[in-house]
Subunit: 151 residues, 2 copies
DNA sequence: GCAATTTAGTTTCCCGGTTGACAATCCACC
DNA sequence: GGTGGATTGTCAACCGGGAAACTAAATTGC
């Protein structure tokens, strides 16, 4: 049986939690939770959320992108992009292409990578649908708009 | 001058980005950005966002909490809570108290910790206000409500 | 044309987090 | 009351990211 401790007087500061702060905390908490869940989801495929992110960016661009451009689009450092591409290349999802500018390596989505995206698409969409199920379509739209204003 | 590369035909899968998926991506992106900014903010004080989180939780609880309870409230592992508390204790912001259940260590906010919270409060609120400035009060409320439904 | 600066990518090291193994302790059941 | 199973906190090992140092290559200025 756990002994109740004598109620020590712990200092406590009265903090006025503003509306903005409450919204901020919720935003960060929900975001954090989603990253975890999403990462766990992709773990099954042997890649991380960010690896998938790279594939999506390449697919969306429709043309090879330099590593630095990829990093720019996903708010990630050059060093990290190198590591992400290393794994994706090993998995044959992308290829590093030489480029006119010999400092640059253009990253190209391979057939294998494209196929992977296609095969996992329904799974990914399913995840989004599941997460946002508590909201009506109108509310989802509203949420997206509010978030846009914060970007 | 960068040589334009011959336009290789890169495979591209047509993905229907649903409303839910768009909202999800925005949510994760904004959340991610906020964590970075927030962490950088607390870096100035020599602690991380999560260290501060612990202090806030303790202050909010108004009584000492076990490490596992802290971990539960901030969605963090036991091991990580140990490390967070290690630093906070070294900084004299919290104290580990013995407890009736001798497996448990109750974490108590010290005067020093409470003072720290009080002194940084305006800074933290300022951050939240700045981030949510693009939204009206009504929109902030609306955002908070939408996020609540996702929790 | 050549030196100085800038840029892309890689490598190394560090930091914060998780997982898993562990010891101590408590609890449930017989 | 003793044994097996949970639970709490800690530690070691690992992993994903960022910052800084480094290399190769392009650009700018003279």
């Amino acid at each position: 049986m756990i002994q109740p401790v004598e109620n020590k007087q712990m200092p406590k500061i009265k903090l006025s939690t503003s509306l903005a702060e409450q919204a901020l905390i919720k935003l960060m908490r929900v975001g954090d939770r989603l990253w975890r869940e999403s990462d766990e989801r992709f773990g099954r495929w042997g890649i991380s959320d960010n690896h998938y992110n790279v594939l999506r960016i390449l697919n969306g661009a429709g043309e090879p992108l330099s590593q630095i451009e990829i990093g720019r689009r996903m708010l990630s450092s050059r060093a990290n992009v190198t590591k992400l591409i290393d794994l994706l290349e090993e998995r044959k999802f992308v290829k590093r292409l030489a480029c006119g500018d010999r400092r640059v390596k253009l990253i190209e989505l391979t057939e294998t990578g494209a196929t992977f995206i296609a095969e996992t698409a329904s799974d990914v969409i399913g995840f989004a649908e599941k997460v946002l199920k508590p909201l009506t379509k109108a509310e989802q739209k509203s949420l997206a708009e509010l978030l846009d204003k914060l970007s």
